[in-house]
């Protein structure tokens, strides 16, 4: 037997769990403004997240998926995306969306059961949250194809989870991206669980990065709790995609610090000790240490930031809660660009029966 192909999967980490640099940091990490901005948005994501859960517990939004623990993976890539790039998130990328200019009140509207939230700010071409697992990977590939056809030097970024890598749509997207050399980057956040299913049950593949090999595209792992590593490797991947170098896949190794959603109880299926251990590796702690060590970030600054972010979130919660109620007619308005008579007739009926309850 002769060897006809060889492959390697590499892993990148700059900061260890204590925020200690393991090797020389990339250039951007010396830029205090950039680092502070990234840290700020990671913190904002966390504050927002906590507030969302409170809102759910008090019946003010519906079921919501927390992004606790995913802050580095989201902000690390958002930070190197350009407005012209196209984001195709799953349902968990609150942080990346906020970075790109989506208002938190709009995110809340969606989770509160109001489609108007998805008519959101930030790049208008970005995709909304996507619930059917892995399907957004194909949208990102399609958007990338559109960018490529128009000769735009931009790229698309698809976000998905470890569970998503079992869906046919995920592989089809990877394979199409490879076959057509599309400017798209797949960021797989391996938070080790798909609801109750640990990643070891999801696949016999030792890494999710190696899924890329099936598509003939580059795949690599990065410490997803290390915002420096995420940003650095994503920057390379996005640049490559934008300049005609083709697609890539990054597996960000992280951990879901929350329940799957507010409708889930993770204690049913995972040991406390595991969660405890994961807390020690979580991304904010690490980023803060870096800020302290490199930029003399103080406890006072931290507290001031927290207060500022809490106020910011509170204002958005206010905006969300005080928005005018959606009306039943609205469900007809955007079903078609040209409303068929049949639907216009139904709208008349609906007007007679305004939505009870949550409306």
């Amino acid at each position: 037997m002769s060897v006809v192909a060889r492959f390697e999967i590499r892993y990148t980490q700059f900061l260890d769990p204590h925020g200690k640099a393991q090797k020389e940091l990339p250039e951007f990490a010396a830029n205090a403004d950039q680092m502070a901005r990234m840290y700020r948005f990671m913190r904002l994501t966390r504050v927002f997240d906590q507030r969302c859960i409170n809102l759910q517990r008090t019946g003010q939004v519906g079921t919501i998926a927390s992004s606790r623990g995913h802050e580095a993976a989201q902000i690390g890539v958002a930070a190197v995306m350009q407005p012209e790039d196209v984001m195709a998130p799953s349902y968990r990328e609150h942080g990346a969306a906020i970075w790109r200019g989506v208002r938190m009140s709009q995110l809340l509207a969606v989770w509160g059961g109001d489609e108007r939230g998805h008519n959101w700010d930030g790049p208008r071409h970005d995709f909304p949250y996507c619930v059917p697992i892995a399907t957004q990977c194909l949208h990102a590939a399609g958007a990338a194809l559109a960018l490529k056809m128009r000769g735009q030097a931009s790229c698309a970024v698809a976000f998905c989870g470890d569970g998503a890598t079992s869906e046919g749509a995920f592989y089809e997207a990877l394979n199409a991206a490879g076959a057509m050399q599309l400017p798209v980057v797949f960021l797989v956040t391996n938070n080790r669980y798909a609801i109750s299913m640990p990643v070891e049950g999801q696949t016999a593949a030792g890494t999710l990065a190696q899924k890329a090999i099936a598509a003939g595209i580059p795949g690599e792992q990065v410490d997803g709790n290390d915002v420096v590593a995420v940003r650095h490797r994503c920057e390379q991947a996005l640049r490559k995609a934008r300049s005609g170098g083709g697609p890539s896949l990054l597996e960000a190794l992280s951990y879901r610090l929350s329940d799957h959603t507010t409708a889930d109880d993770a204690t049913r299926y995972r040991p406390d000790a595991e969660v405890e251990a994961a807390r020690l590796r979580e991304p904010l702690r690490r980023a803060r240490r870096l800020m302290e060590e490199r930029f003399g970030w103080t406890e006072e600054q931290e507290q001031a930031l927290t207060e500022e972010l809490e106020a910011e979130v509170e204002a958005e919660v206010e905006a969300y809660l005080s928005a005018p109620k959606p009306q039943i007619e609205e469900i007809f308005e955007h079903q078609f660009g040209n409303m068929p008579p049949m639907l216009a007739a139904q709208r008349e009926i609906a007007r007679k029966y305004p939505a009870p309850g949550h409306g």
């Binding site: 519906g62 079921t63 998926a65 349902y91 969606v110 989770w111 509160g112 059961g113 109001d114 489609e115 949250y129 619930v131 059917p132 697992i133 569970g163 998503a164 079992s166 869906e167 046919g168 749509a169 798909a194 609801i195 109750s196 299913m197 049950g201 999801q202 696949t203 409708a263 889930d264 049913r268 299926y269 109620k325 959606p326 039943i328 609205e330 469900i331 007809f332 079903q335 049949m342 639907l343 139904q346 009926i349 609906a350 029966y353 305004p354 939505a355 009870p356 309850g357 949550h358 409306g359």
Partner: protein, 325 residues
């Protein structure tokens, strides 16, 4: 325990049949350790072991395709799709294989599987968690589509579905999962498939519904009785193939029919019922057949979903309109 909710009745039926038939296997996303996101499979893995109750990778086409393969080799797979909104990747395996294997091989291979999925609105969940697209499956020759609307019927129909030698799509109305309790003796007795249940006799009009809409339909019938309108209520239960006899017999007496379902009205299962009435029941009809269904829009997110599905008020108005016509 025998005073059960619908979801507990599902669990009890699964447990009964697993205990009595070694070939029954339960699997899907989060059905094992977690016991299902609605706890429909709670305790089954502990009781029957991880070989017969297991979690799969996250892939619905795979879940259905594995089931076809297993069923063809003599097992009785009872996979779960976590929500009906995620059943679509599995649809190819159902329409192209599960429904056809027996016919394709002229009986050499068969496909006794039950694909369970919670469906319908009512839990304030994100998008795609409120689907009622039973009509898609009802149009597939070779597939039975069965929908319980009470704990008793959930138990009996699920047992019969598992024992049936052909594929059944078994849709559980999540809005009814914990809506009320019934005595459900754990006696292993199935209820007939291909059979609609008259849950309330009446003389003025026939109300036909299934799934969660059975709740509002039942309540509407109660309120209408107070107004002197005596509705016969049919719970369709097997939405495909249709039990035409029960429907036609009822309408031959009442002369009037209103059909109620959560699904978008156009092309829903209600259309088939109305069509049967328009052909085989026309001479009984004393008034137009009305359908009260979801509007022909995407089911809205939580804040408007109760404006989308048929309310008791809409049902009553429709009944009055038909009775007065």
């Amino acid at each position: 325990m025998s005073n059960l909710t619908l979801v507990e009745a599902v669990n009890q039926a699964l447990a009964w049949e697993m205990a009595h038939d070694d070939s029954v296997v339960v699997f899907g996303e989060d059905v094992g350790v977690n016991g299902g996101v609605f706890r429909a499979t709670d305790g089954l893995q502990e009781r029957f072991g991880a070989a017969r109750v297991f979690d799969t990778p996250l892939a619905e086409a795979m879940i259905a395709g594995l089931a076809v393969g297993m069923a063809s080799q003599g097992l009785k797979p009872v996979p779960e799709i976590q929500f009906m909104g995620f059943i679509y990747p599995a649809l190819d395996q159902i329409i192209s294989h599960a429904s056809r294997l027996r016919n394709r091989t002229r009986g050499r291979l068969t496909c006794p599987m039950v694909l369970r999925a919670p469906f319908g609105t009512g839990i304030r969940a994100p998008e795609h968690h409120s689907e009622s697209t039973e009509a898609l499956f009802a149009h597939m020759p070779g597939v039975r589509v069965v929908i319980p609307s009470s704990p008793v019927r959930a138990y009996g129909l699920l047992l019969s579905a598992i024992r049936d030698p052909d594929p059944v799509v078994f849709l559980e109305p999540k809005r009814v999962y914990r809506a009320f309790r019934q005595e459900v003796p754990d006696n292993g007795e199935g209820l007939p498939l291909d059979h609609a249940f008259v849950t309330r006799p009446g003389t003025d009009l026939t109300l036909i519904s299934w799934g969660a809409s059975a709740l509002e339909t039942w309540n509407a019938a109660g309120e209408l009785a107070g107004e002197g309108i005596d509705c016969e209520v049919i719970d369709l239960a097997t939405v495909s193939p249709l039990d035409k006899e029960t429907i036609l017999e009822s309408v031959s007496r009442t002369g009037r029919a209103v059909i109620v379902h959560e699904a978008a009205v156009s092309g829903g299962v209600g259309a088939e019922i109305a069509a049967v009435l328009a052909s085989e029941g026309l001479y009984s009809l004393e008034a137009p057949v009305m359908r009260v269904g979801g509007y022909d829009t995407v089911p809205p997110l939580a804040r408007l979903e109760y404006g989308y599905i048929p309310s008791v008020q809409r049902i009553k108005d429709a009944v009055r309109e038909v009775v007065e016509a």
